[in-house]
Symmetry: C2
Subunit: 227 residues, 2 copies
């Protein structure tokens, strides 16, 4: 089949921007053909309430050149426990040129056994858990180790996808897409990473949200590993 | 009804990241309630192939505190010709605290008569067309004029939404969301705006895509104005 086949793996409880950011970039890859694969063709609910419609099931998705797995909170642990997305990724990874993840999607690659002995990254809140799936955390927004590319939290998927386009189709293709998306970021604050966030803010964000996420990943991944 | 009601307006042929970027941010607004409104409850196809599921029709959407209209290419012109989204925005704008757009969504606000005499922005390729709807182009990634806030192309919606959160819920809320999304952008190239793109690249991007878009907006908006 002609074209460069890109497959996004979606599952209930994903963080939609982990997927929609790279999708916007990669849908402009010259010669690219995008597949949005899920367990069934039913709309897939994301954390923020938006449901996304897949166009392929895991069973009927063609062979992929690039697999991209977005993250989520509880949704990732549930997807790992469910097994269908993990099995799809494991099967497709055998022939794919690139196997990639954004945010906590790394743990789905990990559950498929694809991160053992690899350098990788994930959302800043759960980097310590990468060891559970045999990976070594590398401190970078996008980490490439062989044909495995992992990106940090949520918005890092946009930077990741532009790098992927540059690698596959050349820098000018990536630049053209960046210009088209007016990707000239101007965050109103400089606190997009724990390194630069005020200590009080980080503590409060951890307390409100990420201590629980970290605990959920710690226990969820241990439970899966033991099963 | 309690809460701060945020309504996204979606229509066939929208650019999904114009919507999904701000959605990811605004879905974390403290006290926020998100509505995704369309003409019917059927999945709405975006330009890049992903269909998005609304959860409100224009007819049954409650009164909104904030309206956000994403852009698109031909989809925006078709939405203006169709009229349903424009009428919805016009009606909701009467009482909304904020009326906002991302990218070419500005022209839907414009078609609703909401940009007359206002400073505004849109995607860099069609800023000249803002005059057609009575607006004055202001050179900025996010432009606020009274209760009207317009953002530039596609990814500017993320910066826009963080600014909106800061305005509504305070800077620390916005900072917490930015940290959670790991919004610490690191574009691989510095060409996200025509000011910084190499001249040859800009010419090629214009020739491949944006001359046609500009023509489409010019003739589409003239046609609508004449009708």
């Amino acid at each position: 089949m002609a074209g460069f086949h890109i497959g996004f793996v979606i599952f209930p409880g994903l963080t939609q921007l982990d997927f929609t950011g790279p999708l916007q970039v990669l849908s402009h890859l010259p010669g690219g053909v995008v597949h949005i694969a899920a367990k069934t063709l039913e709309p897939v609910p994301s954390v923020c309430g938006l449901a996304l419609v897949p166009n392929r099931t895991f069973a009927d998705c063609p062979e992929l050149d690039l697999i991209c797995v977005p993250g989520g909170g509880k949704g990732v642990i549930q997807a790992i426990e469910d097994g269908a997305a993990v099995e799809f990724v494991r099967r497709q990874a055998v022939r794919a040129k690139y196997v990639t993840s954004v945010c906590t999607g790394a743990f789905i690659l990990g559950a498929a056994g694809l991160l053992r002995g690899r350098r990788a990254t994930t959302h800043w809140a759960v980097t310590e858990q990468l060891g559970t799936v045999g990976a070594t955390f590398e401190r970078a927004r996008v980490v490439q180790d062989g044909n495995i590319i992992t990106a940090g939290g949520v918005t890092s998927g946009i930077d990741f996808a532009l790098r992927v386009v540059a690698e596959i189709a050349g820098e000018d293709s990536a630049r053209a897409i960046q210009l088209g998306m007016e990707y000239d970021p101007a965050p109103p604050f400089d606190c997009g990473h724990p390194d630069r966030a005020p200590a009080g803010l980080l503590a409060s964000v951890m307390a409100n949200r990420y201590h629980a996420l970290r605990d959920m990943f710690r226990s969820g991944l241990t439970r899966v590993a033991a099963a």
